[in-house]
Symmetry: C2
Subunit: 256 residues, 2 copies
DNA sequence: CGCGATTTGTGCACCCCTTCACAAGCGCCT
DNA sequence: AGGCGCTTGTGAAGGGGTGCACAAATCGCG
C-alpha cells in the first residue's frame, strides 16, 4: 500500500513545454518564493540576488539556487534574478496562470473564516461555492456567496468547474464529503478535519491540522524546559532574554 | 547564517528521565498516532497492532514501529501495543501532561475562528487570552474570553503563564507581535501570517499558510492536467472515475 | 512442555534532500 | 580590451528518512 508510483513521464509525451518533475520539497517552497517576490516587486525591486531572495523567504541561499535551477536558468550571473520574470516562471510552473475555483464544504467555525479569508483571492484562487449539510446554515450568505446544501455539489461542480475541494467539516463527516468530491471529479483536496481520508489513486490530499501544530510546538517546549533544569528561578519561564531581542534571523526549520 | 546548532545535550546533564532526542519527522507524526489511539480507545480497543494503528494514522506500519521504538519498547511481540499505555507515553513525550496555555493575537477573520475552535481544548490546550490591536475589537467577548489590547500582553502573560503564542494578524503586524511575544518569554510561536518571522535562537516558529497549501495542490493539479493530454474530452476534468470510488487508501504523502 | 502463529524491534540498503565549495559566466570600471 | 568582482549554477559529500526483510520475543494450544 501507499505505492508512490508516479508514472515518471514515460518519455513519449512531449506536448507540454517542460514539466521538469520537480522535487516535492522544492514545490513546497516555490509558493514562499513567490510571495517574497511579490513583496519585492511592490517595493520597486527589479532584480534580486539569491541571497536577498533567500533571506526574504527564510531559507538558505544555496537551497534557493538549487530550487530555481530545477525550473531552468532564469538568473544572470553577476546580477541576480529578474523579479518579474521569475514571478511569471513560478506562477506558470505552479499552474497559477489560470484562476482556480475552490469549493469549500463545511461552513462552521473554521469554514466561515476560510470563506472570508481574502488571502485566497489575492493569490489566484476563487472560492466558487460554499456547502454545508446543516439546514440551519444553508441559505446563509457569506462574503457574497450563498451556502448551498451539500447535495447540490454535483450540479454546482459541473457549472463552476471546481478544481480544488476544501473540507472544513467535523471529522465524522469528512470521509463522506471526500467521497462526494471525488465522485464529481475533484482530484485535489485540502483537508482541515482531524482524520485520515481514503481516496483513490491519483487524488492528492493535503492535511492541515491546527491541533497537531500546537502539539509539535508543545514537544519542543517540553524539551527546552527539561534542558533548562539548571537555573535558580524555579517559577515561570520568564527569564526575559538579556540581550536585545530579535537578534538573529534563524527560522528553526522544524518539519514542514 | 541559519546555523542550527542545537547544543546536543553535552553529556553531563542527566537529570531528566529520558529525552530520547526524537527525529523531527517522528515528532511530527506522534500527534497523528495520538489522535488515532484516542479513537481506538473510545471504540473499546485495548490493544492494537502496528498494522492497525498505522492504517488508522495513514502511514506505513514499518514507519510506525520505528517511530514508536524511538521512545522505548512499549509493545508486546505477538500481541501489539497497549492503547492506554501508549497514549500515556506519547502524551508524556509531547509534554501534554500539563495543560498548556495559549495566547492568540489577532482576532480578525481567522483568529475569530481559532478562538472558537474546540479542537484545541479537547487536546489539552487552553486559550488563555485573546489580543488585538484594533480598538474596535478590544472588549469583544468570544467564547467566554474578552479581547484585550495587545499592549496588555506583558501583564497578562505573567498572570497566565503563557507557553505558546499564536499569531493570526495581517502580515504587516506579525513581526512586531512576534517581538512582543518573545519579549515576554514565549519560546514557541504558531504563525498564520503569510510572512517570515525573525526570532532569536531558541525560539521555535511553525508556520501555517493556507494559501501555500492551495498553491501546492495547484501544482499537482497542473501536472496531472498536462499528463492527461490524450483523452478526447477537451472540456472539463469531469471524467467521473469509472471504478467504484474510495477504492484504495493511499494518502499521497506530499510534503509535511 | 514444546511448537507454531503472530507481531515487535531493527539492521541495512536506498533515496531524497541539504549544504558546501567552486568553476563558469556576466557586467563594470579602468 | 582587459581584468576584476560579483553571482549563478552545479558536482559532490554528508545526513536523515523510508521501507524491506528478518531475527527475537510472546502467546496460545495441543
Amino acid at each position: 500500500m501507499s505505492q508512490h508510483r508516479h508514472p515518471g513521464t514515460p518519455g513519449r509525451a512531449g506536448a507540454v513545454p517542460a514539466l521538469p518533475d520537480l522535487p516535492e520539497a522544492t514545490v513546497a517552497r516555490l509558493p514562499e518564493y513567490l510571495r517574497a517576490l511579490h513583496n519585492l516587486a511592490e517595493t520597486g525591486h527589479e532584480t534580486v540576488s539569491s541571497e536577498g531572495l533567500a533571506n526574504a523567504a527564510g531559507v538558505n541561499s544555496a537551497k534557493l539556487r538549487k530550487d530555481l535551477s530545477h525550473l531552468g536558468s532564469y538568473g544572470t550571473r553577476g546580477v541576480g534574478y529578474d523579479v518579474a520574470l521569475l514571478i511569471d516562471q513560478i506562477e506558470s510552473v505552479l499552474g497559477l496562470t489560470q484562476c482556480r475555483s475552490v469549493a469549500l464544504v463545511g461552513v462552521g467555525n473554521l469554514g466561515h473564516a476560510l470563506a472570508g479569508y481574502d488571502g485566497f483571492a489575492s493569490r489566484g484562487f476563487r472560492i466558487a461555492a460554499l456547502f454545508d449539510a446543516s439546514p440551519s446554515r444553508v441559505g446563509e450568505e457569506i462574503n457574497g456567496l450563498v451556502v448551498r446544501h451539500v447535495d447540490e455539489l454535483p450540479r454546482v461542480a459541473t457549472e463552476e468547474s471546481i478544481s480544488i475541494g476544501v473540507i472544513a467539516t467535523p471529522a465524522s463527516a469528512a470521509q463522506a464529503v471526500a467521497d462526494q468530491l471525488v465522485a464529481v471529479g475533484v482530484t485535489s483536496i485540502l483537508n482541515f478535519a482531524p482524520c485520515v481520508l481514503s481516496v483513490p489513486e491519483g487524488v492528492d490530499v493535503r492535511k492541515v491540522d491546527l491541533a497537531i501544530e500546537l502539539q509539535i510546538l508543545s514537544f519542543h517546549e517540553h524539551r527546552k524546559a527539561s534542558l533548562t533544569a539548571l537555573p535558580a528561578t524555579g517559577g515561570s519561564a520568564l527569564t526575559a532574554l538579556p540581550g536585545g531581542l530579535a537578534a538573529t534571523d534563524n527560522q528553526e526549520a522544524i518539519g514542514t
